[in-house]
């Protein structure tokens, strides 16, 4: 039976609301935590999907922005909790535990970094782009490991979640709601972006950069902006992820994480609005159930992924709707 993509999308959103509510009623708070994890990973992958799905550039280093978001949150909260000042050279501040401020800072820092890195890495394409993005993420990974001031390899614990006005963020369902609303908001913005003149141009750029140039547009600028937006969203996800765990560590920069973000997108379906969301839900579920079954669950995860690449091009959405859809 073939179903329409928008029905699949609606089903996912409904499922993402229903599952935590069910968990709340049946008093299974850990299920809510799992759902929150899926939502945050989905958000990070939605960010990656802007440059990867729409722009056709496979960034194998998006963990960089995830980590930057995480560390932004960690450092701000750390200074706020220890009442120490954060000296930024130009000015000093006391850190903050106020979530909206943390989010904005995480996005701005990620965006600025994405701009600077993008200026360099977007000169390359194809495999070179894959590898140079990986290299940048590795640089930050090693830097974070030896950055003793913020815990180095041990990472940085912040013990309590940051504040959001009117909510108790330590209650799983309330924190889930925050993340879920942000995800929906970003998905909505992404949907607008996809159809906007910018989205249309970026989409065309992936297919034929020459054509985009000959109508007078600058592909480099398109890619750069896409990279910046992409980095900012993934950075935001990183800040939320760190808040979920009340902890940041260099593993947020690791290449495995960059790989996992790509995996999420491919599982769901490249270049689709809800692809990363479906991918994240499936991935988190697999992780949870497989690891309960056997110590060697990575083998089965590997086999499932392999099956998806070989036999389900277009991801799960493609499988359900019978369309391969946009492929990079």
């Amino acid at each position: 039976m073939r179903v329409k993509e928008k029905h699949v999308n609606a089903l996912v959103i409904i499922g993402l609301i229903a599952l935590p509510l069910f968990a709340l009623i049946s008093d299974e708070p850990f299920t809510i935590t799992l759902a929150t994890r899926a939502v945050i990973l989905a958000l990070a992958a939605v960010g990656l999907n802007i440059i990867l799905g729409m722009g056709g550039l496979v960034s194998f280093g998006h963990a960089l922005f995830f980590g930057i978001g995480g560390y932004t949150m960690g450092i701000l909260a750390y200074h706020a909790q220890t009442y120490t000042t954060l000296d930024l050279g130009l000015f000093a501040t006391g850190g903050t535990e106020f979530m909206p401020v943390i989010w904005v800072v995480a996005m701005v820092v990620s965006a600025v970094l994405a701009y600077l890195i993008g200026l360099l890495v977007l000169r390359t394409s194809g495999v070179y782009f894959i590898m140079i993005t990986l290299a940048f993420a590795q640089m930050f990974y090693y830097f974070a490991i030896s950055w003793a001031q913020y815990g180095g390899e041990d990472g940085l614990s912040i013990y309590v979640r940051n504040d959001f006005p009117g909510l108790n963020t330590l209650v799983p369902i309330q924190f889930f709601c925050i993340c879920f609303v942000i995800l929906c908001l970003v998905l909505f913005l992404k949907a607008r972006l996809q159809n906007s003149p910018f989205g249309l141009a970026l989409n065309a750029m992936r297919q034929t950069a020459t054509r985009v140039e000959t109508v007078g547009l600058n592909p480099m600028k398109l890619k750069l902006l896409a990279f910046v937006i992409s980095g900012a969203i993934t950075g935001l996800a990183g800040a939320l992820f760190a808040d979920l765990n009340r902890f940041v560590s260099p593993t947020m920069f690791s290449w495995q994480l960059s790989g996992e973000l790509i995996v999420l997108i491919i599982i769901g379906g490249v270049g689709r609005l809800m692809g990363p969301v479906i991918g994240a839900c499936i991935f988190v579920a697999l992780e949870h159930f497989l690891s309960g079954l056997t110590e060697f669950w990575h083998i089965y995860l590997g086999l499932i992924l392999l099956g998806i690449v070989l036999f389900a091009r277009g991801g799960v959405i493609g499988l359900l709707t019978g369309k391969e859809g946009a492929h990079v």
């Binding site: 708070p29 850990f30 815990g151 180095g152 041990d154 902890f247 990575h298």
Partner: protein
């Protein structure tokens, strides 16, 4: 009456799962690199539980894959969904730092079978946190003390550039009174030590202290043995543990290392432990297995006296540490970290198997350096 009713309902609910009264959550590393350590802790722990003959203890075991974020989520699961009374199992300091503070903050007891970061021993100590292994610095301090006792005066010291590595060098220097001919931080996960060995050769040192856990230590020892440099090496037990010694081979022979446990410590508990572990799992127990075993026995001894639901009584029972440790004498300091004797061991070959033999005491009844900062 109401209380009784509640109890029957609870019993009825529990009957569908298991008839257990105490639930223990174990988060440890069972897959990927470093799984050997977690498996040893788990096996040692479960051996003690089995030997106790108590069927009212349920142990929930989860694999953290050595990823801090996974560990945090598993701890949420343990506390929120499984509602465990006691947690244990974490191998790595960075995972412990991510998990322990929030777990003990939620009223759950945590018994550490391996990691002992300084933060949790000093300012960050907690009444519900007990360390059954060592404070991280202990074995390094013992190595420094041993170096003094054999008259080393010019050490070359080396560790990976990450907090535990930096602590290791600090720990060594705390008791070591000689000079340093070199102090090097290597890359975490580094596999080739040719450059460092060349520096050692050129340094004119009379001894080399290193802390390189896991595969890093194997690589270093093999390369060091092959380099022809014959300056004596000392290190903490981690690179000479039963699990990896076989992979190092001859290169480790004769190396002195410091440990709070060895299979030849002469007491009945230890002898029985070594024998039953070998019978059960078909391999010699490691340091980690002994720590898992001790952790479980401490726990069982406290359960004999008090129920975890009565927090204060249970805590006192733990603090008393009325159990037979494989290490012999064992007691807790004011910050719930061990006060214990640390030995110097030497790597030997018994038949085909590489193992350790105690050659002396490095530090007697040693406590850690952070206890004073702990306000409990």
């Amino acid at each position: 009456m109401r209380k009784f009713l509640f109890a029957t309902v609870a019993a009825a609910l529990c009957a569908t799962t298991a008839a257990s009264e105490v639930k223990i959550g174990m988060i440890t590393t069972l897959s990927g690199g470093g799984a050997g350590l977690g498996i040893d802790v788990r096996d040692g722990f479960m051996l003690a539980i089995a030997q106790s003959g108590r069927d009212d203890i349920e142990v929930v075991i989860e694999d953290d894959q050595r990823k801090p974020d996974v560990a945090v989520q598993l701890s949420d699961k343990m506390v929120q969904s499984e509602r465990v009374d006691i947690m244990t199992g974490i191998i790595w300091s960075n995972l412990a730092m991510a998990v322990v503070p929030s777990v003990v903050g939620q009223g759950v007891f945590y018994l550490s079978p391996n990691a002992g970061p300084s933060q949790l021993a000093g300012q960050g100590c907690h009444e519900n946190y007990f360390n059954v292994a060592w404070q991280n610095d202990n074995l390094h301090e013992a190595a420094g003390a041993y170096a003094n006792s054999v008259g080393y005066e010019n050490s070359f010291i080396m560790a990976p550039n990450y907090p535990a590595g930096q602590d290791a060098l600090t720990g060594y220097k705390r008791l070591y009174t000689g000079a340093l001919s070199g102090e090097v931080f290597t890359q975490l996960g580094q596999t080739d030590y040719a450059a460092e060995i060349a520096q050692i050769r050129a340094s004119g040192a009379d001894s080399v202290f290193f802390f390189l856990p896991g595969g890093m230590g194997i690589s270093f020892l093999k390369q060091y043995a092959d380099s022809g440099v014959d300056i004596p090496v000392i290190g903490p037990a981690f690179s000479f543990d039963q699990g990896i010694l076989q992979a190092v081979g001859d290169a480790a022979l004769g190396v002195v290392n410091t440990s709070q446990w060895n299979k030849d410590i002469d007491n009945p508990t230890n002898a029985a432990f070594v024998e039953t572990f070998q019978a059960e799992y078909g391999r010699l127990p490691s340091l980690y297995a002994s720590q898992g075993f001790d952790t479980a026995n401490l726990l069982i001894s406290a359960l004999e006296v008090a129920d975890p639901s009565d927090g204060d009584a249970f805590r006192d029972a733990l603090r008393a540490a009325e159990f037979d440790s494989t290490r012999g004498d064992f007691s807790f300091g004011p910050n719930h970290h061990p006060i214990q004797t640390i030995y110097a061991r030497e790597v030997i070959k018994e038949g085909d198997v590489y193992t350790n033999k105690i050659i002396g005491v490095a530090l007697e009844n040693h406590a850690d350096a952070y206890a004073a900062a702990c306000k409990m």
